[in-house]
Symmetry: C2
Subunit: 137 residues, 2 copies
């Protein structure tokens, strides 16, 4: 299969230069600095909205073989394609810079995409609610 190339649309500014525990990183606001050509698209965003930030884990050395067995059952960073996505909340919009909380990416992380959170698609359906109700005490 041939390789796929993407061009970053912006970069993360964070006080974290190296990865720390995700909980620790997510508690501190980060800035998403997008290329100026996205000014009109950024103006459509609002404080309080939830966004997915899709980014490249640039400190990770991609490994093509000998993956950990829990590769698909854990959110470990060492992956064949080190793509991360994290749900954030917008706390400020200024030009093509967003301030967000919830991000766990280090300073200098290349941003590949921003997508709105959409509950109807991004939340697992609740299965068999009627069956569960029948079993309730």
């Amino acid at each position: 299969m041939s390789s796929i190339s993407y061009l970053p649309i912006g970069i993360v500014e964070s006080s974290f230069r190296e990865p720390r525990r995700p909980e620790e990183m997510r508690a501190v606001p980060s800035r998403l600095v997008l290329a100026t050509r996205f000014a009109a698209e950024m103006a459509a965003l609002e404080v309080g909205q939830h966004l997915w930030v899709v980014y490249h884990l640039h400190l990770i050395e991609p490994i093509s073989d000998h993956h950990p067995v829990n590769l698909f059952t854990k959110r470990i960073a060492n992956r064949p394609n080190p793509i991360g996505f994290t749900l954030v909340r917008i706390v400020a919009v200024e030009g093509t810079t967003l301030t967000v909380v919830g991000l766990d990416a280090v300073d200098g992380t290349p941003i590949l995409d921003l997508k709105p959170y959409q509950r109807i698609w991004d939340e697992p359906p609740v299965h068999r609610p009627s069956a569960r109700r029948l079993n309730a005490p």
Copy 2:
């Protein structure tokens, strides 16, 4: 910013050759055929689990300029970097092939990653429940 390259880890097999409404596509099972080098990692997956499938929308021509203004507020496919991710449920695991429901990717879509769904990270926190309770009638 320099470009980033990824190598697909597998491919989607679907009865849809061209994009249709996501609702229509998600209702039909698809197969995720991964490279055989992922046999051990695939064996850790179980029927019923929810997974994110990260994929490249290979039918989309990337556009570097003149994006729609709703680029970051809608999940439209025409994006600077046409990366998609969709939440699916595993219905069968056979070797390095997964059968899933919920995917809205066409036949031949290159797969970049699979990640487990994790509610604690993938669901927006409920904000200010106490304030909301105070305002309740």
